[in-house]
């Protein structure tokens, strides 16, 4: 299965004529006028529909495959969220429409803020960040603004564990901070001694995710919080992994000052093949004055957006309007459908699935990276041994899994575990599917022992076989050029 580029299907003069106005001529001064039309595809409506429908079929997705991509929380995206978020009134609402014709939407946003406060244990929530990384940005920017507002101008160091997601250090840099990396212990916990040594008068804060991306819960979190706070720093919670603890423990209660949430993970909005997401931030008392705007407030005469006049110390705006509203609506709808009991179940069954899958894989002879620990909602298998003994690596396992109809786990992240597969089944997968995954892993292990080239050459049954990434980066081909 493969599909030619749409450009090769284009023919001059063809069009989907029902899609644009009958007649219209633009008036543009000669020197500003476009002379040659942009060479966009010229195809019929059927050709476009067929092309993109066929392209879609080349993808794995939650709706078609088990997708245990660690740290990405690929769980079921309820179709109802999409349907109700796309009601014509919501789709048609202009972001700058007056409050009088926006109360329905604003009420949803306000209630979403309130629910997110409740589940995180924070004091305020801003929905504006457009993805996790922007939520992180908002968080670190608030930490900086906090220190600055106190005249504490030297604090520009952000401590980040080596297991952290790449966005954490990248964000710190973007905020003009210096990144101090600290190691993890072999049991997966933070090296608290190293932390102590890193803390000091320049400490702005620490970015943690707990459970960490190693798939284990940071047990000494209260001690960490105390240490950082005593050093004058603040604690940032990377809430991409909130799925692990939803309803079980709240970042606010653990001592965090600020958190971002990946609504496109924990709150099950779709990832759309790359996005959109939403990285709503929650803050404790200290950071309330600095929240990114706009934020919805409920007032006597209805709901309205707070802006720079209401939040004068705000770190400012992060998007042209108010973030990914449609994603927020989906998260809101999802939360309403979960409700209180459902919210609690998320972490329970996510942990059950992860621990079960871990137990079965271990029983099948695979090595856990942290065998002494409970898995959180995800866990790490390392195939270091197989790499050494059989010459097949994590990538080979990953690619071969595709042939078995399973999306691969996250590979080579976190960077500190060699040949790792970070596996996150999520709570919406059935035991049968986990069992199927285990069987596939066992079959692949057997192949690795008996015919390792099966793995090396994998995938064999997908639209393409393994791609040459080196060539992609060296002989850059980033846009199609017609042969002449």
């Amino acid at each position: 299965m493969s599909e030619p580029l749409i450009f090769t299907q284009s023919r001059s003069g063809r069009s989907a004529a029902g899609q644009y106005p009958h007649e219209a001529a633009a008036r543009v001064p000669e020197k500003l006028r476009r002379k040659k039309p942009a060479a966009l595809p010229e195809v019929s409506e059927l050709q476009a529909v067929r092309h993109f429908t066929r392209l879609s079929q080349l993808n794995f997705s939650i709706d078609t495959h088990f997708y245990p991509l660690g740290s990405c929380t690929m769980k079921y995206n309820p179709r109802a969220c999409n349907q109700f978020a796309m009601l014509p009134e919501f789709l048609g609402r202009h972001p700058l429409a007056p409050d009088a014709v926006s109360q329905g939407f604003l009420e949803c946003m306000f209630e979403l803020q309130e629910m997110l406060k409740e589940v995180t244990g924070m004091k305020g929530v801003s929905l504006t960040p457009m993805a996790g990384a922007q939520g992180e940005f908002a968080g670190v920017a608030m930490i900086r603004a906090y220190h600055r507002a106190r005249g504490d101008l030297e604090r520009n160091e952000i401590i980040v564990p080596d297991a952290a997601h790449g966005t954490n250090p990248a964000t710190a840099t973007m905020c003009g901070c210096v990144v101090i990396e600290i190691p993890s212990l072999s049991n997966g916990d933070i090296d608290v001694d190293a932390l102590k040594q890193s803390l000091g008068p320049k400490t702005a804060g620490i970015m943690l995710t707990n459970p960490s991306t190693l798939g284990v819960f940071e047990r000494r979190i209260q001690e960490v919080a105390k240490l950082v706070h005593e050093a004058g720093g603040l604690l940032y919670y990377d809430g991409a992994n909130l799925n692990a603890i939803l309803g079980k423990v709240r970042p606010g209660d653990m001592g965090f000052d600020v958190i971002h949430m990946n609504l496109h993970k924990t709150f099950s909005t779709p990832h759309g093949g790359g996005g959109p997401g939403s990285g709503a931030v929650g803050v404790g008392q200290r950071l309330l004055p600095f929240m990114p705007i706009p934020v919805v407030a409920r007032q006597e005469n209805g709901y309205r957006w707070l802006d720079e006049r209401d939040v004068p110390q705000t770190i400012g705006r992060l998007s042209a309007f108010m973030g990914n509203a449609g994603v927020l609506l989906r998260a809101y709808i999802y939360m309403l459908m979960l409700g209180r009991p459902g919210m609690q179940r998320v972490a329970e069954y996510a942990a059950l699935n992860a621990n079960y899958l871990l137990a079965r894989l271990r029983a099948a002879g695979f090595d856990a990276a942290y065998p002494q620990r409970r898995a959180s909602h995800e866990f790490i298998i390392t195939v270091k041994r197989q790499a050494k003994e059989l010459g097949v690596n994590a990538m080979d396992f990953a690619k071969r899994l595709l042939d078995f109809g399973f999306h691969a786990p996250t590979t080579y992240f976190p960077l500190l575990v060699p040949e790792c597969l970070l596996i996150e089944p999520t709570e919406t997968e059935a035991k049968q599917d986990l069992d199927g995954f285990v069987e596939a892993m066992i079959a692949i292990q057997r192949e690795a022992e008996q015919e390792p080239q099966k793995l090396k050459g994998a995938p064999h049954t997908l639209p393409v076989r393994r791609l040459d990434d080196v060539r992609a980066a060296k002989q850059l081909d980033l846009a199609y050029v017609e042969a002449v």
Binding site: L58, S102, G323, A325, E427, A430, L478
Partner: protein, 454 residues
């Protein structure tokens, strides 16, 4: 248990395999003192039917007023096929295409998107999206600082005719890296930026100059002169454009004698519904020489083990998951699904379709302005050539006028008085191809009533 597939038997067998007495035991590593007791603030679960009822009632509250605002988000016709395909599970529920072989649909589509955007903007490379137009400008500013090796100032000139929110966002995002934006006034007579006023900066270390065209007032800027001045002064040029306008306007790649360096903008007009401001997508294209400074995902075409063409994420060494604190940006999740919409939209419309949409929008805006300025006390602020927005001056404060119009089911425009107090009671209005002559008349009648009251 909505969304949870586990039967009691399943749970029992799974716990046995784990060797845990109950599910709670799986959380034993969490200090007991921290364990959440109850989420009292969360309401009981609603069924899908109940949620549907609730959401429909919320939606009904907001209704479907007739919309005459643009100001960065535009209501265009979106072919039914676009979202029917975008919401197919294979696009909707896939992750970022890390496993290229299992994501060729998304990857090929993104490669096609990149191609379309380079063609539309007249540039050589495109990334696979940023969050939105405003944050794209911030990223462009940071990119220009990285790309301009000789400039040390991180100083960027921005005419005040650039979308003021874009400027706020760019400031908020780049502030930690000490980028400085110098805002230059627009000419009060024309509403456009006078390139002549750049002479004051001649010879200074300016990293980049930003040009928004059409500008925030909907007017055409003298893009050639500004571009050429910037290049002559050793500065880079960042263009902020409405992608739809490029169907009729000279692409930034052809501005001045050598074209701009970076192009960014809001992709929303290309098939994305207004939906309260998002999700939209920011686009960015640039000269090939700057590709390694680009933020965001980039897709490349390569070959597989059998030599068959295929697509993959490339130049990942720029990105946070590889380069961590030294990445070009912290962006990870982007706005892929909206790019999917835009790619299908552009394929369905073609450049001829886009041209017609742009032209019809311009025409309807002309009619709107003609109709509204016939009203006593309503004047056109700037008369130069424009795309599909215009600034009107009213004889009374804008906010109550807009409120009164809203009561009549009309969203009448964007109040400029916060950002541009110097313009007086100024209102930014917009009509696209979606606005009929009848709706324009309805607006004119309503505005006449509202402005003549009292």
């Amino acid at each position: 248990m909505p969304f949870i597939p586990h039967t009691e038997d399943d749970v029992r067998e799974m716990l046995a395999a784990i060797g845990a007495p109950n599910i709670d035991a799986l959380f034993e590593e969490i200090p007991a003192a921290l364990r959440t007791r109850e989420l009292t603030g969360i309401p009981d679960a609603l069924t899908e039917m109940e949620v549907g009822r609730l959401m429909r009632s919320r939606a009904r509250k907001d209704g479907t007023p007739i919309n005459f605002i643009g100001a960065g988000a535009y209501e265009h016709h979106i072919p039914a096929a676009v979202w029917a395909i975008v919401t197919r599970g294979e696009f909707y529920s896939a992750y970022t295409p890390y496993q290229a072989e299992a994501s060729q649909g998304t990857l090929q589509l993104l490669y096609e998107y990149q191609t379309m955007m380079t063609r539309l903007t007249g540039m050589q490379v495109s990334n696979a999206s940023l969050y939105d137009g405003a944050s794209a400008l911030a990223e462009a500013a940071l990119m220009s600082v990285r790309a301009h090796r000789r400039s040390k100032s991180a100083r960027i000139l921005v005419p005040a005719s650039v979308n003021p929110t874009y400027l706020s966002v760019a400031r908020a995002i780049t502030e930690g890296q000490n980028v400085k934006f110098d805002v230059l006034p627009y000419a009060s007579s024309s509403g456009t930026f006078d390139p002549g006023s750049l002479s004051a900066f001649e010879g200074q270390d300016i990293t980049a100059v930003v040009i928004q065209h059409p500008n925030f007032f909907g007017l055409f800027e003298d893009v050639d002169a500004i571009t050429d001045w910037a290049h002559a002064n050793g500065s880079l040029v960042i263009a902020v454009v409405n992608p739809l306008s490029l169907a009729i306007l000279k692409p930034p790649g052809e501005w001045g004698s050598k074209g701009v360096d970076i192009v960014v903008g809001e992709g929303q007009p290309l098939g994305v519904p207004l939906s309260s401001g998002g999700p939209y997508f920011g686009f960015m294209t640039a000269r090939m020489e700057h590709v390694r400074q680009m933020p965001g995902r980039i897709i490349g075409r390569t070959v597989d083990l059998d030599g068959k063409p295929g697509f993959t994420l490339t130049l990942q060494a720029r990105e946070q998951h590889i380069r961590r604190s030294k990445a070009t940006s912290n962006i990870c999740t982007n706005q892929g699904l909206l790019v999917t919409a835009a790619t299908i939209y552009m394929s369905l419309l073609g450049s001829k379709g886009l041209e017609r949409v742009a032209a019809a929008s311009q025409t309807q805006t002309d009619k709107l302005i003609a109709a509204l300025t016939r009203i006593d006390g309503v004047k056109l602020a700037f008369t130069g050539p424009r795309f599909h927005e215009a600034v009107l001056r009213l004889n009374k404060p804008v906010k109550p006028v807009l409120a009164a119009l809203a009561e009549r089911g009309i969203v009448g425009g964007y109040d400029l008085s916060n950002h541009y107090p110097e313009l007086g009671h100024a209102l930014l209005v917009c009509a696209t191809e979606m606005r009929t002559d009848g709706e324009i008349e309805e607006y004119a009648n309503a505005l006449r009533e509202v402005t003549s009251d009292g």
